[in-house]
């Protein structure tokens, strides 16, 4: 019954944002919800003066009177009492119950969570065990027993419900507090001699208040539901009108006057919905809403921003495979043009009303058997360029223009299924960060086999296994069998990168695209991986497009180099020529960086690629 809200609410992030109230007041749903709650509170406080009839007074002739026809505005119940008056009178019990549950649950959960999260150790263990026990208590049975066996009042039962739902707040507060506690500014506060109470009050509580508000409003809805549920079971003082009790009366009357279910149901639903919607509105104000756009919506957005051609390039055609000749080099002339041709490629990302281009007409060519370096700092668009060639750009990306041809075949605009067939067999991809590029749930061997069998459907499981094992040995893994059966978290970064290389070249692609293949590795391992790539390239005569920020790597491996900056190619040519006679100032700067023997971004090995 203590519905878990931790997952949803903790995702709300920490920290209130200025303007939260203003944001809420702009949402009509939030205003409406707050009004509903305010009305319920006013009714609860002033119910004696607002009921048109005493809620328990009976007028026999109005038994089951239909709504809007008699003095009983919303009709009469099966005893001839005024439904409207009983609804108004029932609001007090409902709101008092919610208040009890919420205040006990919040105080208990937040205080224990703060202590456990801030002091850790024994407090943490005790609190966690206690929370685990409370969460396993069959709450509704306990509440039934309280009413029936212990003769508890509604207030006591709601207090117990408050205790039983406090673990949600405990977990939320504990997790958030631990997070805040490790923040640098809290460390600084501690070092500067602030007392624990001040730190908790000033830094921790401020950071966790928004998620707690969200969870509180959800709990208020749940509390109302549970309370009415118990009343519905007949576990309350029948003399006091209650919404749940009214549901029971109506349910008993379901064959004669089923409509009576509507009123108490509506009252409950409105107030519950109001609590939930306020919580939702706070959450949306903090983290925004995201509805994943459908394919059709994407299509519409792209057409609007950049026109029809961009749609086809980005999402692929809906029609049959492209007719020959619809693009210049589409048919028949492999060999006449380089293995990979990226031409005038433009990539954009949608913003609220327009789009922002990040790659502005980039052209790169890779001849068969040639190694081309694509150099630039982070944010220069080099990774975006190769992702476009591989067809693995992030979902939001739009290919605004240009062409990517492999062996003379246009890749942009292929249907997704056709593109799947090109990947792996014709192009292999070695990523930057080895550990995050292996699926943590499968053994190394299993994911290699999945890839091999996807590209070579004719291969049996055993054959694919054999090939994977062979590849592991080929990339220099000493105990292929053991690595094959290992999970990614059980192997080192260098080994993981070898595994990824094995996966990329297993099906003998003509083109290998490597995106900063050594950046995330230890310096000692870097050289080994580069050697391995060089050997494989020579052995298999692959074309290689090597993305790097490091001219040292270029000098080591590449035949040609393309220098990119801010989404534009600023210089390209044979490696020797560019090294000896760099034309562009930016190239000179990058070259100077290797002379100093400092990689421009070695200090930030894990930054996001752009």
């Amino acid at each position: 019954m203590s519905a878990d809200l931790t997952g949803t609410a903790s995702a709300a992030g920490t920290g209130g944002r200025p303007g939260l109230v203003r944001h809420l007041l702009r949402s009509p749903l939030a205003i409406g919800s707050i009004l509903v709650i305010l009305v319920a509170i006013v009714l609860a406080i002033a119910e004696e003066w607002l009921t048109p009839f005493p809620p328990n007074s009976v007028q026999i002739q109005l038994t089951n009177a239909p709504p809007f026809t008699t003095d009983y505005l919303l009709g009469g119940d099966k005893f001839g009492r005024d439904i409207l008056s009983r609804l108004i009178a029932g609001s007090r019990g409902a709101m008092v119950g919610v208040l009890i549950v919420v205040s006990i649950s919040v105080v208990l959960g937040v205080v224990t969570g703060l202590i456990a999260g801030y002091y850790g150790k024994l407090f943490d263990s005790l609190g966690s065990w206690g929370a685990a026990v409370l969460m396993a208590v069959p709450g509704i049975i306990v509440l039934i027993a309280l009413y029936t066996l212990v003769d508890a009042s509604m207030e006591v039962a709601m207090a117990v419900l408050g205790v039983l739902s406090s673990p949600s707040f405990f977990w939320l507060t504990r997790t958030l507090t631990r997070g805040v506690k490790s923040e640098l500014y809290v460390d600084a506060a501690r070092v500067s001699g602030l007392s624990d109470a001040r730190i908790v009050g000033r830094h921790v509580l401020i950071a966790i208040r928004a998620p707690i508000i969200i969870m509180t409003s959800f709990l208020a809805g749940t509390a109302l539901a549970v309370q009415a549920g118990l009343e519905f079971l007949g576990l309350s003082d029948r003399q006091r009108p209650s919404w749940g009790g009214m549901l029971t009366d109506a349910f008993a009357n379901i064959y004669r006057a089923g409509w009576q279910l509507i009123w108490p149901g509506l009252a409950l639903g409105l107030v519950m919905a109001a609590f939930v919607l306020v919580g939702n509105a706070v959450r949306d104000a903090l983290q925004g809403t995201y509805v994943k756009p459908s394919r059709r919506a994407r299509r519409r957005q792209i057409v609007q921003l950049l026109g029809d051609a961009a749609v086809t390039r980005t999402l692929g055609t809906r029609a049959a495979p492209m007719a020959a000749g619809s693009e210049r080099q589409d048919s028949g002339r492999p060999g006449q043009e380089p293995l990979l041709v990226i031409e005038e490629l433009r990539i954009a990302y949608p913003r609220e009303t327009d789009s922002r281009e990040v790659v502005h007409g980039v052209s790169v060519q890779v001849e068969a058997g040639q190694v081309v370096g694509l150099v630039g700092e982070s944010g220069s668009g080099k990774t975006q360029t190769v992702f476009a060639a591989l067809g693995v750009l992030p979902e939001e990306a739009i290919i605004a223009g240009g062409s990517v041809r492999l062996d003379g075949r246009e890749l942009l605009g292929l249907r997704p299924a056709e593109l799947v067939a090109v990947r792996g067999t014709a192009m292999g991809y070695v990523p930057q960060e080895p550990m995050s590029n292996l699926d943590p749930s499968f053994t190394v061997g299993a994911q290699l086999v999945h890839g091999i069998r996807a590209q070579r459907p004719e291969m049996g499981r055993r054959q694919a296994r054999h090939l994977a094992m062979e590849m592991l040995a080929r990339v220099g893994i000493h105990e292929p069998k053991r690595t094959f059966a290992s999970y990614p978290h059980e192997i080192s970064g260098g080994m993981a990168q070898r595994v990824l290389i094995a996966g990329a070249v297993a099906c003998e692609p003509k083109l290998l695209i490597a995106d900063e293949p050594t950046t995330a590795l230890d310096v000692t391992v870097q050289a080994e991986i580069l050697d391995l790539l060089r050997d494989l390239q020579r052995e298999r005569q692959m074309g290689v497009l090597l993305v790097t920020h490091n001219f040292g790597v270029v000098a080591d491996l590449c035949d040609r180099v393309v220098v990119m900056r801010e989404g534009v190619v600023v210089e390209h040519g044979a490696v020797a020529k560019v090294f000896h006679d760099p034309q562009h100032e930016y190239t000179r700067m990058l070259l100077d960086a290797i002379l100093d023997d400092v990689a421009p971004r070695s200090s930030v090995p894990r930054e996001r690629r752009g």
Binding site: T8, P138, L149, I254, Y255, V291, A454, Q455
Partner: protein
Amino acid sequence: MIGYLARRLATGAFVFVAVTALCFLLLYVRGGEAIARSLLGSQSDAGPEFVAAKAEALGLNRPIPEQYVDWFIGVITGDLGRSFVSNVEVTAIMATRIPITLSLVAVSLLLTVILSVALGVGAATRGGLVDRVLQLLAVAVRAIPGYWLALVLVLVFALGLRLFPATGYVPITTSFGGWLASIFLPSIAIAIGNVASVGTQLRGAMLDVLRQDYVRTLRSRGISERAIVFRHALRNAAAPAFTVLSLEVIGTLGGAVIVERIFALPGLGNLALTSGVLGDIPVVLGVVVFMVVVVVVVNVLVDIINGLLTPKARVG
């Protein structure tokens, strides 16, 4: 994996002892005399000596810890004591009720899993309308009490369209179709709330996983979209969703009490309610034992499944 399992089982055992002790204390704390008097309540002429004799006969005068230990030893040996009211063995009373509540829990969990996967995966991969429906559902079920929905289901499908029986239970041994028809509506009423939370959780996890680096790498190897979604992404997204599901089981048991009442299913929830009214503490405790066992077993199962799904969890 064995150490991991042992730790989970130990936690489960601790939770079981702690929860039953807590409930035991709560139910017996009024003292033997008060309990005996409420049992004798209907016989208004019961004098103090009758009350004392009744308390003595039921063993209520002993210290609560002693009573708990006795009761607990009984539980371990499969003896839940006898009803204060009918003197029938509690296990015998519960035996006919358990299949009904278990059917409800099992069918509603099955529905929850199927619908959550369909909606969660659909929302994360197709987006658009499916995503909107799921997000709307998530708000709606929080705002609509499950039992009110159950009442509406009765009104529309049972009384209005006459597609399902409104009340009553048909054992699965009598007729499978009849059994399914008798518990389908109540299971839907329970499942729909779970679907909202499990489905939203799964959607979020799927969206997150599909943006992971390894998914891009798997795509680059020419693995089909279907295999990526169902083989790789779903498996990685399943663990957090399962955790939410295990939390929902507790709510499901609670919801079953009310839903059993609405559909007049003679399950454990109804039993707890009637026994509670009669002051029949051993029967109520029997239901508590059953529920805690279900909760603990489901939690251990989910931990094991999560351990299998995410190899890294086995270490921690």
